[in-house]
Symmetry: C2
């Protein structure tokens, strides 16, 4: 086991009706709140009204920034931060999935440190403080509700970057499984693919941490058991609750303890696809993971077999990859670029952007030659 | 799944040499520290010197309270709190196992609120604040290093009580597996029995939380794999590290999320034995658990079989109990009261104290008739 720090300050309120406690929790941090959310579903389904009522009911002054996009762009962060600075916001409340919450994390840093969001994302500026963030989750997927990560893209520089800072942990996260009842089937599935991929990125990280590996198997097995059920019964509370909590645990530190770091090569590949084609994050991962495993089958056969053995009871890298494909397939996630309408004519474009952004993993490096192989495997 | 709050503010520093960061961490909380530790091993093995050096090296004024006993008594807490009040201590540093850290938790509450320790333990006084606690762990067992629990006994009232308060979470805990190299074989084994019992108490808690159950299986399987190895190779870093981290996760909230509460009936039985005979906590649990399972075999056969099936691949309550006995036996833990020198002549005494303290579980109640059966089963 590698030395590590385990520290997760986020207070998670989980279950039916927990948003009723939001006003009380929020008002402890100040009176002036920046309320960020996406377009569409959160408003349409009444979650916006519930959260707004909590904030105004607690006597707070609410400035609103709406319209954060899936695969969020830095421009929205800069604009939200401008609004927050103008309104002297003391805290941020984010209602949505990963895109909104990630944007809110960077926005909070921008406001507290009077910095530009992209300077923070690229490491040019180093924030030293933040204002508290309260997240209300509407999509089980990224785990951002209980970690220090944020992913935002910049169309100008053609980059989609991940950024980690301990300041980014939400002070509170409200997780009501009922808030995910209306997530459509495809996005429900992509969320499950995402949580599985988070487990795998840490499984293929650096360092030997058997208990973390056991937790990884536990979370993936939970997703495998509940995933098909939640797709079939989208308004079943227990299934939604189990997937929601699995997604949180897939990336809240639990599966990384005793490892120096995760790999995250597959996420880097996925970010390239999302950037180019606005492909939903989870869909890029179900396409990229089998390809990545195929590339590594001869390089780390034992590690891949260990995974296959513990999850599926199989004993070769090839059988493991086959089972991983079946797993994503049962979740109705795409396995090939062709499944999402990207044909051979796009190959060069993808490979070139992978080269330009030096797409690689932290534990297993990816060369330019690997990029080409990966794109071929994904076709 | 039941609604729940997941919040664990403790910052764990895990690994070789982490105590080198203690002085820096401690000095952030003030200059006047109350340093609590046990008699014997921590001093003999040089851990006392290392911690003391960290504190004085950070320029802190150190008041010391030594001699906390295994199965700690409230009298030591009251005396340590007197010292802390006199010295106007701003934080407490505890070096030891569960006894020292639990005593330090209550001591910190006593100092901050100017209350008596036993008034706090019994709920007569309600503390509203605390002073920060930094724990340095020397025994993998109770999980106190990352939770809000404390267990202390009062010889006068003939009670050994558990007490939980979110104020009790240590601010920091330093876990260096090398600090456990010199733990003797029997106490190493009792620690493992304790961590397994913590998992089981939550397994038999109220509410259906499949992911928590999976985490429970993971932690017990880790203990079953590493337990015999660490007993054989007490100075092996990896084995000590794995047991230490398993013990922390067995009672840091992870295995309870989605359940309303754990059962804790077996711990209540164990506390009775510890109080009467000063039996090490873990040894009481390896005796009490098989008896408790036997009592419940006909009442909750499915739940017991689920455990047996997931841990050992067996399919009846009887086979499960048999495997649980084997498990504790492989860890060289006692299975019967006779193994620790308590014969039939003590029966009445034990049963009477169980009646007097109304020993029961929270999820599965224990009647006076059950007490008698349990003692018979433990003989």
């Amino acid at each position: 086991m590698e030395n590590f720090i385990a520290h997760n300050p986020t207070k998670v309120h989980f279950g039916r009706g927990v948003v009723n406690d939001l006003g009380k929790a929020a008002s402890r941090y100040g009176n002036r709140v920046l309320f960020m959310y996406g377009k569409g579903s959160a408003v349409k389904n009444g979650y916006y009204d519930q959260v707004k009522k909590q904030l105004t009911g607690a006597g707070m002054q609410v400035a609103e920034y709406s319209g954060i996009k899936p695969n969020p762009v830095i421009d929205d962060v800069e604009k939200a931060a401008d609004l927050g600075r103008r309104e002297r916001s003391e805290l941020v409340v984010a209602l949505g999935g990963g895109s909104v919450i990630d944007s809110a994390k960077i926005t909070a840093l921008c406001i507290a440190n009077d910095m530009k969001g992209w300077d923070i994302m690229t490491g040019t500026a180093e924030p030293v403080k933040t204002i508290p963030l309260i997240a209300v989750l509407t999509l089980a997927a990224t785990g951002t509700e209980m970690n220090g990560s944020a992913v935002v893209q910049n169309p100008e520089t053609r980059e989609k970057l991940g950024y980690w800072n301990p300041l980014n942990f939400p002070a509170h996260s409200f997780l009501d499984p009922e808030y995910t009842y209306t997530v459509p089937e495809d996005y429900t599935a992509y969320g499950i693919a995402d949580l599985i991929a988070h487990c795998l990125e840490n499984f293929f990280g650096k360092g030997d941490a058997p208990l973390s590996d056991r937790f990884i198997y536990s979370i993936i097995q939970e997703a495998l058991e509940v995933g098909p059920l939640v797709l079939k019964h989208p308004r079943n509370y227990e299934y939604r609750a189990r997937i929601m909590w699995a997604a949180t645990n897939a990336l809240n530190g639990l599966t990384q303890q005793g490892k120096a770091y995760g790999d995250w090569g597959v996420h880097a590949i996925g970010h390239t696809l999302s950037f180019l084609y606005d492909t939903p994050h989870g869909a890029t991962l179900s396409i990229a993971y089998p390809a990545w495993l195929k590339l590594h089958a001869g390089r780390i056969p034992e590690r891949i077999t260990t995974l296959g053995n513990n999850l599926f009871g199989v004993n070769t890298p090839a059988r493991t990859i086959e089972e991983v494909r079946k797993m994503f397939s049962r979740l109705r996630c795409p396995l090939h670029l062709s499944d999402i309408g990207i044909d051979n004519s796009h190959k060069t474009q993808i490979v070139n952007l992978m080269h330009a952004n030096r797409v690689t993993g932290r534990n297993y490096e990816l060369s330019n030659a690997d990029h080409l192989k990966l794109v071929n495997y994904m076709m």
